[in-house]
Amino acid sequence: MVIRLVSRHTQETQADCMRVLNQQSITWERDIEGSIVIYDCPEGMYENPVATGSYSGNVIKCIAVSKNVAGTGLAQNLITELVNELHLLGRDHLFLFTKPENRRIFAELGFHPIATVHNLVTLMENDPRGLKDYLRSLAEFRIGNEGASLSSGSNTSLPVSAIVVNCNPFTLGHRAIIGQAASESSALYVFVVTEDSSEFRTEDRLRLVRLGVQDLGNVRVLPAGSYVISRQTFPSYFLKSEKIVQESHARLDCTIFKDSIAPALGITCRYIGEEPFCPVTRNYNEVLAELLPLAGIECRIIPRFAHAGRAVSASDVRRLFVMGDMPGVRALVPDCTYDFLNSGAADYALQRIFGDIHGQQAHVWGSD
């Protein structure tokens, strides 16, 4: 057996991986950065690939061992090599996608299940406390823990709600949805996606949302972290993937939300922004609307907030910003966002937005 580390794929190395993956009907994913390939051949050559596992960021996926060598412990070699390689890249908290029937193999290799979508996919992590610690950190935000600071208007007959937003950047549309949800809820948790794949940095997006809703006493703004719409729970949200992969990731993300996150915060209702354009988001919304009620979580869809007869969207704000149309921006965003965009501190985003307008990004955020 020859173990090969591929840190940059060529057509030939990718073909080797795909030969093994195809046997298990696993598809190659385009965000793969590197792979381990095991060949069944004498040393000094690379022939007859029999096992492979790949990584993207801190996610291990596309793992397959050829049927004729299954059971020879190649999964151990794959994971050992991947863990070591990713450690050298500074990535120690690792996530792993596999088929549910292979859960046990990876459980014995130090991976703990986070969530499973029946017959489709299981997400695991190598940190035995990863999800636990995350849920504990959420509990610190729990409204009601601090008692006295709760807004006097809170009404316990209303649901405890959640909404997930990207806010790239924070617009009047976001503010309106959050305001409406807050008024219909006893408490509202706003999860801001922390994946740094947006034009505006996570820290800026988060800060603007916090500034923009600080007048709402029953609202808490939380960083979504690794377990809500992240590259770990929902990689296909951030790149073009086949529909079946997207669907399974959407279900996975939804499963983590209903089984782990909602119980940790006592959430009984989730708000979703209506999505007229983006198919990925629309599919995600459909999955939420299907699965959450089964877990006793209500799903409320809010139409987009319109300005001058047009739905306010963050992509319009970005376009106006890059064109320097600050009065146009002003009409669509709250003061905090306007001040930030106008201060020069946001200029780093100009180049990223420009690239995006020219079609560089695989997927435009539906819910902004």
């Binding site: 994971i79 863990v83 035995p128």
Partner: protein, 99 residues
Amino acid sequence: MEGMKILDTGIAGTLESSDVMITIKKHSGVEIELNSIVEKQFGRQIREVVRQVLEQLGVKDALVVVQDKGALECVLRARLITAVYRSAGLAEVQWEVFA
């Protein structure tokens, strides 16, 4: 010997049969997360060895994740010490300390 400090996350060992993979990271106090195929029979013993080695190295703060694949005690010791040294960023082992 002066106590060793866990700085970066340190990893040592493999997931192959008869081996153990140790991940050690910053923490306050010593905690051990053990996942072993022989946990029922040897869980206590494994934790005991881990505590003893950490004490020997003067490590007071660490989270140790032990993914055991049926390693002998000598293997566990070797892997744990390797992980601690890697985490502390020290290349030269003080052999005098070890029996």
